[in-house]
């Protein structure tokens, strides 16, 4: 009887011990930051802009995708390692900058513990000084479209738009009211005005969220202004 008990206990404890052998430690290092231009964050639509982290040394190559939030911020929970950070060329309303260390657009990230990394990029346009006013149910926004990339890589504006939504997720998919203006119809890039009428909201809501979006010709991702809450 005593022998059996010892054997059972021995087997049980080996189960518990093997749990430790089988499981890996969870990743614990946070890599976070923002996509910025001269320190100013790049605002985008949610889930549309992602970049890749590659960890060299493994037999099969697979990227870790990191999503960029609406305000340009990102965060990833990773293991400590040497990563190569690449923003694929078709991602984002911007061009990547040349990285001196890697002599390419790859950013070498040596992760050892938590790290804050702001990634400088070169957007085609920036939306400057967005101001929103409300008159009744009409929301009006004025802004300046600042052309950052000029010269051979420059691109034209396809259209600008003002988007209004009930929630904090505001873009061309998520809106209750939107007005667009074709790029060719913009008379003065320094002072563009757009307005849209908010329909009746059910259930009643006395506030909405609004932002300006700018679509660049030939680029899939739009650049936006920060999301602003306005009271109706």
């Amino acid at each position: 009887m005593k022998l059996q008990l010892i054997i059972i206990l021995g087997v049980l404890s080996s189960f518990l011990y093997s749990c430790g052998l089988d499981n890996y430690d969870a990743p614990g290092s946070v890599l976070e930051g923002r996509l910025v231009y001269n320190g100013e964050p790049i605002n985008v639509s949610y889930n549309d802009v992602t970049f890749q982290l590659w960890e060299p040394g493994w037999q099969k190559k697979a990227e870790i995708n990191v999503a960029v939030d609406q305000d340009g911020s990102y965060s990833a929970l990773l293991f400590n390692a040497n990563y190569k950070l690449i923003i694929p060329s078709n991602q984002g309303p911007f061009r990547s900058k040349l990285n001196a260390e890697s002599a390419s657009d790859t950013i070498l990230v040596n992760l050892n513990g938590n790290k804050v990394l702001d990634i400088e990029v070169e957007p085609y346009y920036m939306i400057r000084n967005p101001l929103f006013t409300v008159a009744g149910r009409v929301v009006t926004g004025t802004f300046k479209a600042d052309k950052i990339i000029t010269g051979v890589n420059a691109k034209n504006i396809e259209e600008v738009a003002i988007y209004v939504n009930k929630t904090m997720f505001v873009d061309f998919r998520s809106n209750v009211a939107a007005t667009t203006l074709a790029g060719s119809a913009i008379s003065d890039l320094n002072a563009i005005t757009l307005s849209t009428t908010v329909p009746a909201l059910v259930p009643t809501q006395t506030y909405v969220f609004v932002r300006i979006g700018l679509k660049i010709q030939g680029i899939e991702d739009l650049i936006f202004s920060p999301i602003v809450k306005v009271n109706l």
Binding site: K61, A62, E63, N90, R173, N175, G218, E220
Partner: protein, 624 residues
Amino acid sequence: MKKYSILLLLLMSLAWGCNDKAFLDKQPTNILVDSQIWADKSLVLSVIADLYDRVPEFQTITNWSEFASLDEGFASNAGDYGRHKNTEYGYGEWSNWDYGLIREVNMFIEKCGTADKLDPADKSRFLAEGRFIRANIYFELVKRMGGVPIILEPLTYDFNGDPTYLRKPRSKEVEVYDFIIKELDEIKVDLPKSSVIKSRATQGLILAMKSRVCLYAASIAKYGATTPTVTLPAGEVGIPAGLATGYYQKALAAAEELINSGDYSLYRKKENLSENFSNLFIDKGNNPEAIFVRDFKLKSGKVEGWTLVNQPWSQAEDLEGGRLNPSLNLVQSFEKLDNTYETYATNKADGDYIYFTSPKDMFANRDARLEGTVMLPGSFYKGKQLDIWAGFLLADGTVIKGDNFGARKTLPGKTAAEYVVGFDGPIDNLEFSAQSGFYVRKYMDLAVGSGQRGVMSEVWWIRYRLGEIYLNAAEAAFELGNNAKAATYMNIVRERAGLIIPLTEADITFDRVVHERKVELAFEGHELWDMKRWRLAHIIWNGQSTELTTNPGKADEVSTRVFGMWPYKYYNPGGANDGKYVFQKIIPAQVTNAHRFRLGNYYSDINSTIRNNNPLITRNPNQE
């Protein structure tokens, strides 16, 4: 001891008596080996029949729900509501990399090449059919993935430890198209020239397929220029714009050769043109228009359930039906008989409803293909009238409706309960009811029992028919600048639909070409490939919840959600218009998001497993 030895001797004698050879050399009755198959042409036919059936297809009558993926229809089936709630199409959507199937076809071709026991005529026909099936599979691959490795023989691993010699790179997209066209040209002579053979390859089919393949290549070359980022530098994706004209010419030539051969003609058997159009798809006896079909046969185990799952609930022969509801987006695309586009007017200028004696009156004087493609409220199927109406509309604007098929309530001013909604619905969120206000008619069988689970239907699936070939010719002619020819071919197809006022040369525009394909080929599996090759997909499915277009003839109008239109009975006892029908345009309750087709959807994702196993495979663009 003695006992054991006697026992042993007994056993030995038994064992000696067994006829080893016969016992151990019994032939299996469920496996056929190569030497048996390749000596008998019926066995070879059974092998190739299986291969014919396995060519990948996207939307067909055997998987109805895929027709609700885009904007032709609503999926009135609880398990498929998600199709109307997802915003993006995943990059892996429509992806196919089935080289296992290619290997099987290559093995068939290889073995057929050495099958000396077959009659030479049979052998060359089977060889041509094997190559036809292979070309078909590559066409399905290039439509989805762009350029793929072209493997023409079964590859074998030599187990020497280094498999890298098996890694083949992707061919250019244009090379795959050229390969398909070359194969079709080479095998044509070995195939029978017969319009009666429809489920196997024939010379007519080669011409039909060639017209479609060349047209696709031409469009990608021409319209690909509008999406310059949908290319890969080494040509795996994208066809040089300068090649467009050549492919349009080839497409036109192949289509015209088929049209002028006189082997096929448009189906014209019924006087009522709508009935004629719907009959085209279900009449298998002497059908002059069908060129290549996937056939089915009752009581054979190979039947199809399109009629079963789509039959109107009010007359369903089993507890099944009503799943694919055509959208108002499609229904409003059918023109008036004077060639003009007109959306359905539900209200007068002063805001009052327009009252109809029968709900079908709303759809009067339109392209006959509307009624031939869609079951409209008030129309008939299998001799019984459909019962599509959403409820009673009272004079003060309130609506009395039910939450089940044929629900009963008491109307104000009455004492007894009566039906307040049709037995076909529409009722929001009630699956199998006509939630868009319409049921599908194309491919619906009229045979008794076709809606029963135990019987189902032997209506075929037409992959190629002459109507499409006329439209291929019209599109190619238009793109080559020959509007007169384009008008001629389009008018032949339109005349069969009751649109007897011919289009003039000036009427033929890109919008017209796109529109004609949409209404003629609805629910035949063309929409996705057409929108991709015209590079319109990301424009019309742009993720924005736009209202339904008022311009159904315009090719680039946004159409991201499926809309519907419901008839109501007007209740105004003793007053004007009592008992008449009014309509309201609606959006079905389960449609909560807009379709979004991104640039990365033009060519589906080649997943990381494939690319890791073969680093020569480049990833498709715009997906990272």
